[in-house]
Amino acid sequence: MAVLVAAAALPLVAGQHLLTAMIVALHAAFMALAWNVAAGYAGQFSLGHSLFYGIGAYASTVLYLRLGLTPWAGMFAGAALAGVVGVLLALGVYRYNVYGIFFALVTLGAAEVAKGLADNWDFIKGPVGILLTMQYAPGDFFFLRREPYYFVALAMLVAMILISLALERSPLGQYFLAVREDEQAAEASGVNTYRYKTIAIGLSAALTAFAGSFYAQFYLYISPETVFVFEPQLTMMLGTMVGGAGTAFGPVIGAMLFSGLGEALRNLPFFENTRQVVIGSKMVYAVLLIVVLIYLPGGLITLGRRRA
């Protein structure tokens, strides 16, 4: 609660630069939690969530530009579409008992296929991408200042945390956990593993698409090279794995940490250009990921639990 009040009051004291960094962090935390639904709770380690992120970004943007549909509604349409794509993908993949590392590779391939399609589809401007006009139109999810974006990102994250907590306390969440722990034992306990794996992917895909729509509205430019690539997937994974997969707060902590770290590294003096920052940050991320996974396999969140 105190954290929430502090977060709500932040724009009063923060400058535009810090606010931007916070928006990026909140967005990253949302994405991480969305992926966590499938990977953390249900143990379905998808590497193709950029597919759903991209669908969200393109769906709300294309619906707005072609049909004039407000992105506030468009993001729900994107989520529905991503959910359907996720369910269809899952139905196919799980039908043939693709699991574990093979599942990860198939989903990774699916995102790559989506990028290829987007690159070659003129209707959505192919590799050139789509530029949205900077404007003040609150009804269409466009703002000139940072504060409104900040509050939208904060509200989305709070909703996502509440969804995660509700999942943890629901039968659906228990079925996800059973599937993650042991599919054979889950089946023997009456859990339809095929059905619940598919629901996990569909739900996670739909939630991820919301993040994609937010990205489009905030950055005002999307292209296959920015949303259908591995970057969004990396953000989701690093935050979730380091913070603590299968919990409602671990991925938030992890995503915030990496966002803060990324921001800090960008301002360090020993990088001479953006390229060096990108490569340097990735090396730091990788080391951090390895250290945490070796010494705290449950993620940073287990630190608090151990003390308790």
Partner: protein, 242 residues
């Protein structure tokens, strides 16, 4: 008595190995039936076929009047047949309570109700004090009890126990026998695979003996101890001739 479970000439082949050939048996309501046989006789394969882990090559499995041949395991559980695994499959990173509650959700669709049922099962299995422990931290006997609690929480009419006495100390075996008896007394039929002959002999009203995937004998425990076919299967031909 109406047959609760009936296997009709079930056969299953793995490559060059005929794991089951024309196996037939029934479990009536309220009965405790044992399945015994030496290593590799096909006991666990029979369990797996009955609970839908894999379909038989031929033959039928009928449970409560419904043909469940080749049905998915979760469907068979929903119909009322719950099993334990020979090698325990605890939910390693879930607590004991979470694990058993997942079983309870088979029939009770709300969390509060399922939690009540789960706690009841933990009490019955003597695991109430372990409710917040993770599955991975349990000992062998605790894991077996956990499996039974999870299976019972699904509220089955038939409980299939795969070697629940194996690996237990003598006093623990006595406890397990008492436990299975009390479960059966509660109106649940039991099909039990067991290597520990003492346990299966004392528990079962009827025993089916498997060898090389075939039923070689069937009857009440006291009839079977003197049956030369059974002695031969367990101890070898030389012994029975001697």
């Amino acid at each position: 008595m109406a047959a609760l479970l009936e296997a009709q000439s079930v056969s299953k082949r793995f490559g060059g190995l005929q794991a089951l050939s024309n196996v037939g048996f029934t479990v009536a309501e309220g009965e405790i039936v044992g399945i015994i046989g030496p290593n590799g006789a096909g006991k666990t394969t029979l369990f797996n076929v009955v609970t839908g882990v894999y379909p038989p090559d031929s033959g039928r499995v009928v449970f409560r009047g419904a043909d469940v041949t080749g049905a998915a395991p979760h469907r068979i559980c929903k119909l009322g047949a719950a099993r334990t695994f020979q090698i325990s499959k605890p939910f390693a990173d879930l607590t004991v309570l979470q694990t058993v509650r997942i079983g309870a959700l088979n029939r009770i669709r709300d969390m509060a109700g399922a939690t009540v049922k789960a706690l009841e099962m933990l009490e019955l299995m003597g695991l109430a004090g372990k409710r917040d422990e993770l599955g991975r931290t349990l000992t062998v006997i605790e894991r077996k009890r956990l499996e039974m609690a999870r299976a019972l929480a699904t509220q089955p009419s038939l409980l299939l126990l795969d070697e629940v006495a194996a690996g237990l100390r003598p006093n623990e075996i006595q406890e397990m026998i008492a436990l299975v008896r009390s479960i059966a007394a509660g109106g649940v039929s039991v099909l039990i695979i067991e290597h520990v002959l003492e346990a299966v002999m004392r528990l079962s009203g009827r025993i089916v003996v498997l060898n090389y995937g075939e039923v070689i004998a069937e009857g009440r425990p006291e009839e079977l101890v003197d049956d030369p076919r059974v002695i031969e299967a367990y101890l070898g031909e030389a012994y029975s001739l001697a």
